[in-house]
Amino acid sequence: MAVIETRDLTYTYPGATEPSIKEVSITINKGDFVILTGPSGCGKTTLCRCFNGLIPHFYNGNLEGEIVVAGLNVNDQQIHQLARHVGLVFQNPENQLFALSVEKDVAFGLENFAMPRDEMRKRVDWALQMAGITELSERPPHELSGGQQQRVAIASVLAMQPDIMILDEPTSFLDPVGAQKIFEVINELNKKLGITIILVEHRLDLAAKYANHVIVMDEGKVVLNGTPREIFTSEEARLIGVGIPKATKLYQHLKQNGIQLKTVPVTTEETANLLREALKHD
């Protein structure tokens, strides 16, 4: 079932001469784990802003085409109505956090929903725990490290338990183990709670194994749309400069040298298993 559907979506920021996204027609199904990627400046963040109504309601500008999110026509809805369905974790956590304590920041969205106090308490604790920052609950967000701030930003969106969660490079400031933990949290939200995930990410090596759907944008357009396996082996992806994981690259290098592994691997485990088989068989 489609949870996001756009048709010929084109958007131009106020004062800009050229649209930032052009004729975007995509379908995202409920429960999908989508990686949205493409060169910097290609329109990924702009597209995400359409999903939660920041475009056109906050940024103004000119939006053409159709966009339906969680059954709601974005053009007719206010941001706060969409916010019940769509949570956005900003690329730069400093643009999102503002309260005097982590706990208050995480509770803010729920306060706006007028949630009863007890339930709010539970939700906040749960979100802090899921993001692994329970011990930071009393700290002022602006004193935290970039990585810790990213976790707070995730927790504050998580607390709202949205149907769709959009994360704009949510781990860019985190060390690899920290990033992996966040991806695992996101994966759990996706697999256990059925939350649809849209992850804007360049580091496909870390995220690829969780996704079932990859969308590649270039110069405002959607240029590739398919499963990770399809995208990572396509010549177009290489030409656009999608960061093919090394696990898949090794497969490609071997293929160029006349060694064909049985299937296209997306993760290190898959590559290792295929190699093990090849090394034993021959």
């Binding site: 910097s40 690329q91 290190t268």
Partner: protein, 273 residues
């Protein structure tokens, strides 16, 4: 040359971020500083251009203690590109941003113009020269921040997480470009979590943990040492992960590069045919 001797640093809040760092960075060296969030990486490199001064111990840049020189003076030799470009950018246009430091250093108008053009071109942001940096994407802002430092041609370039928000092609270019700076005998210090980036550049690496240096060596040694890597909250490069997985088949476990990996596998597979 940059030397840190028994460097300690505590923030006013009392948090001890650096606890006895001893480190020498030679001229023309390429160094990657890695380690978990909060290990003290950024705090350490902020000492190299005097943004922070040691609480105890000292840092010497070209033989002079950073306590005795202003940041403005150190900056001429040591350029610092912040992790978050929004902490650095403030001008109305990209062009003005890049010209700012050059003006402060008192370069002639003609030189400024030439350097600005050069830096815009290098980072592929010429088309944004009249645009406000704040209209640009995160990755593009990062390139503006880098251009504004490179424009005055400092001897030492410190990059705090340069690959964040950069797409693959930009990352490849950045990598070429860092290697090129290094080939020109510039000293390059990169703070990064990006193991794949480090695996491809193979610089000298220092691993930090809890305000101390946990280990140092070339990337190939450090990134393939499972114990160290885990201690520093790093995941080994994908190629290393694959080879570690296949160690029982007699494959080497110290491989970080995809080309080297391909060669080893081809030899093994062909041998068997």
């Amino acid at each position: 040359m940059i030397e840190a001797k028994d460097l300690h640093f505590s923030y006013p809040t009392g948090i001890e971020a650096l606890r006895g760092i001893n480190l020498t960075i030679n001229d023309g060296e390429f160094l990657a500083v890695m380690g978990q969030n909060g290990a003290g990486k950024t705090t350490l490199v902020k000492h190299f251009n005097g943004l922070l001064k040691p609480t105890k111990g000292e840092v010497r840049v070209n033989g002079v203690s950073t306590r005795d020189v202003s940041v403005a003076k150190l900056a001429r030799n040591v350029g610092f590109v912040f992790q978050n470009p929004d902490h650095q950018l403030f001008s109305e246009t990209v062009e003005e941003e890049i010209a700012f430091a050059l003006k402060n250093f008192g370069f002639e108008e003609a030189v400024i113009e030439k350097q600005v053009d050069w830096a815009l071109n290098l980072l592929e942001i010429t088309k944004y020269r009249k645009t406000s940096p704040f209209m640009l994407s995160g990755g593009e802002r990062k390139r503006v921040a880098l251009a504004s430092i490179l424009a005055w041609d400092p001897q030492v370039i410190i990059l705090d997480e340069p690959t964040i928000g950069q797409d693959y092609q930009q990352k490849e270019k950045l990598q070429q470009f860092i290697l090129q700076l290094n080939a020109q005998k510039k000293t390059v210090v990169v703070v990064t979590h990006d193991v794949e980036f480090v695996a491809e550049c193979n610089p000298r690496v220092i691993l930090m943990s809890q305000g101390k240096i946990l280990a140092e060596g070339i990337a190939e040694e450090i990134l393939t040492n499972q114990k160290l890597v885990a201690q520093a909250s790093i995941v080994p490069p994908q190629i290393t992960q694959i080879f570690l997985e296949l160690a029982d088949l007699g494959l080497p476990t110290n491989v970080i590069d995809v080309h080297e990996a391909t060669k080893i596998l081809l030899d093994r597979l062909r041998e068997r045919q």
